[in-house]
């Protein structure tokens, strides 16, 4: 009986270890779990050098953004001209913090963007706190809120905003990169064992200057990683093994 109990314990440990292995360092593709956070995060990282001062978070500041709502642009003409313009309303649970409606400009509008958009403060009310999480099934972002992971990503970007632009520019220069306007943009989040934000990876933002992306759904091997402490680095995804046709055999060759 003792032997059987021991065998059962060993088997349980094996199953348990497998379960723990899955939750350890969990990776989330934010595009699926919280696409509206992705939209917001992309806007932030692509305009990191042009964010208004109030959007820069101190390293130890609490979360500034706990919700997002799509709002109509008050500047219709500008909105129509710029296909990349989006409006976000940030909610905050800190009454004194600036929470403003701010229009993310397109690259064409960058000089004007320095003057900012319309500023409006709004606190999260009781009804908004109960909004369901945004997910891929909700096409209209006005009736949902960002996930906790999405909020963490947005907050990380806001804290890192002052350095993102400079660091990305440095990477561009040192690794001979260019902005990729073609590939789909993906946001991959790695959580720690205790489900805290470990790091965020952005693929599809940059590519090598001489890197060929032949097929329409190709993405560059280069991805930008931002760690939870704001450190920015460049990943180069390489094949873990190459194939030499002379070193493989088909069944008819055996």
């Amino acid at each position: 009986m003792q032997t059987f109990r021991n065998l059962f314990l060993v088997a349980s440990l094996i199953v348990g270890a497998d379960c723990l292995a899955e939750t350890k360092g969990q990776r989330l593709i934010l595009n699926y779990s919280d696409p509206h956070s992705v939209d917001f995060a992309l806007s932030l990282i692509q305009n990191a050098g042009h964010l208004p001062d109030w959007m820069h978070l101190e390293p130890d500041a609490p979360r500034a953004a706990v919700g997002v709502q799509s709002v109509e642009s008050l500047d219709v003409e500008r909105s129509e001209k710029s296909s990349r313009a989006r409006n976000f309303l940030l909610f905050t649970d800190t009454p004194n913090a600036a929470s403003n409606q701010w229009r993310v400009p397109s690259r064409d509008d960058l000089p004007a963007a320095k003057h900012g958009g319309i500023v409006k403060s709004q606190q999260l009310d009781e009804e908004e706190v109960t909004l369901p999480l945004c997910n891929v099934e909700k096409a209209d972002p006005s009736d949902c809120r960002l996930s906790n992971v999405g909020e963490d990503v947005v907050s990380l970007l806001l804290r890192s905003a002052p350095t993102i632009a400079d660091e990305v520019a440095r990477l561009h220069a040192s690794k001979d990169l260019v902005v990729d306007h073609r590939a789909v943009k993906r946001v991959l989040v790695e959580l720690t064992e205790d489900e805290q934000l470990g790091h965020v990876e952005f693929s599809g933002l940059v590519r090598g200057r001489h890197e060929q992306l032949q097929a329409p759904d190709a993405t560059s091997v280069f991805a930008i990683r931002i760690a939870s402490d704001g450190e920015i680095s460049l990943l180069e995804r390489v094949p873990d093994s190459s194939i030499d046709g002379s070193l493989i055999k088909f069944s008819f060759e055996q």
Partner: protein, 398 residues
């Protein structure tokens, strides 16, 4: 070694074993991937699935993902997340026995759901490749190797520009006998030996036979050209997009490079010229390039009314109006093609809204050249045509 006889085991141990088995199964069942939460029209009808399959490798498990409505869904082949874009994925799949030489691998983009009409029409499929089971010449270890266009993508599922950001791969199986499989392997060997003879063509609206290439005036001529390039009776390059390559390659399944004669060429699709037209009204024995959603809903036993409602109200409709909202869902290239085909999608919507009139179908077919898209293989499989069957969808979520 002791052999355990359960009839002799004490009851408390049997209970422990049952609990252990239950926990294991529950653990597997609850490892469901949220990437497959898509609309039913993107799912293959259950009647088109291959018969029940089992995995021979513990690192590869199988579940079913079924929607609340319709007799369709996904047979989900779960691989470990750690093997995505790594050769180990190819090794695990070979060990599982779930992939066979000649299987067609389709890159599925679930994030195309609820976006644009054109992306819906393509059932979220962006790319196609062919799988081979090969072995390492030194170790004998088997793994899956792809052949695809761009030729540089051909790999044990680890070419980073494609496989790093690919979350789901559909597997469609053609009916191949042993001779056909062997023929395809021989042609594949020649492709690997002559990779410099292959180039990628970016315009999917212009199949090879429409490009004014000498000697290539019909779809079958494309298959013949491929053979001639590989046996060196032509010095041309084979310049193709992904689906052209797969379709042309499979058209050589009845041909051996040892004794090639063009009479052996057999296009994969049983249509008038081997490729697909736009719309085949009522899909009586045929299906066109635009009829992927229709085929899925028909095979999934949706009522005529339900089918029409979905086709006209949510499928052949642009759901997302702001291009910025698509940055995280599809590439600029696909967005551009979708925009270029926007008016065409309205016509298709009108076709379904007005009772699928033959006159509209004929008008659509007049402006579309016969072609093969990556989605074609799934459309033909969904329509139970050409002996194509759905095996499953590979995800990396364990």
């Amino acid at each position: 070694m002791r052999i355990f006889n359960t009839t002799e085991m004490i009851p408390s141990f049997k209970q422990m074993l049952l609990a252990f088995a239950f926990l294991s199964l529950a653990h597997s069942a609850f490892g469901q991937s949220n990437v497959l939460r898509v609309s039913p029209f993107m799912m293959p009808p259950k009647e088109t699935w291959t018969p029940h399959v089992d995995s021979a490798d513990p690192n590869v498990t199988i579940t079913e993902h079924l929607p609340d409505e319709g007799e369709l869904g996904f047979r989900v082949i779960h691989l470990r997340s750690s093997v995505k874009a790594r050769k180990q994925a190819a090794i695990d799949l070979a060990r599982s026995g779930l992939i066979q030489t000649g299987d067609i691998l389709l890159s599925f983009r679930p994030l195309w759901d609820r976006t644009l009409a054109y992306a819906h029409m393509q059932l979220g499929i962006s790319h196609s490749a062919i799988a081979f089971i090969v072995s390492d010449a030194e170790t004998g270890e088997e793994f899956v190797m792809t052949l695809e266009s761009p030729i540089s993508y051909s790999s044990p599922l680890n070419y980073p520009q494609h496989y790093s950001d690919l979350d789901v791969i559909h597997v469609i199986r053609p009916s191949l006998d042993e001779t056909q499989t062997r023929n395809l392997e021989k042609w594949a060997r020649l492709v690997l030996n002559k990779q410099d003879r292959f180039e990628f063509f970016t315009d999917y609206s212009k199949p090879m036979y429409t490009r004014g290439i000498g000697g290539v005036e019909t779809p079958e001529d494309q298959i013949k050209l491929l053979a001639e390039v590989l046996i060196d009776t032509s010095q041309s390059k084979f310049v193709s997009y992904c689906s052209e390559f797969v379709w042309s390659f499979l058209g050589l399944r009845n041909c051996s490079p040892d004794v090639f004669n063009a009479n052996c060429i057999t296009p994969l699709f049983g249509t008038s010229n081997g490729m697909m037209t736009g719309i085949f009204p009522k899909m009586a024995g045929n299906a066109g390039l635009v009829q992927g959603p229709e085929a899925a809903l028909t095979g999934g036993n949706f009522s005529t009314e339900a089918r029409k409602s979905r086709l006209t109200e949510s499928i052949f409709v642009d759901v997302v109006s702001n291009p910025s909202d698509l940055e995280g869902r599809m590439s600029a290239g696909h967005r551009k093609v979708a925009a270029e085909n926007r008016e065409g999608m309205k016509i298709i919507n009108g076709y379904y809204a007005n009772g699928e009139l033959e006159a509209i179908a004929s008008a659509v077919n007049e402006i579309l050249v016969d072609n093969v898209s990556p989605t074609s293989f799934l459309i033909r499989s969904n329509s139970k045509l050409d002996g194509l069957r759905y095996v499953g969808s590979i995800v990396f979520d364990r």
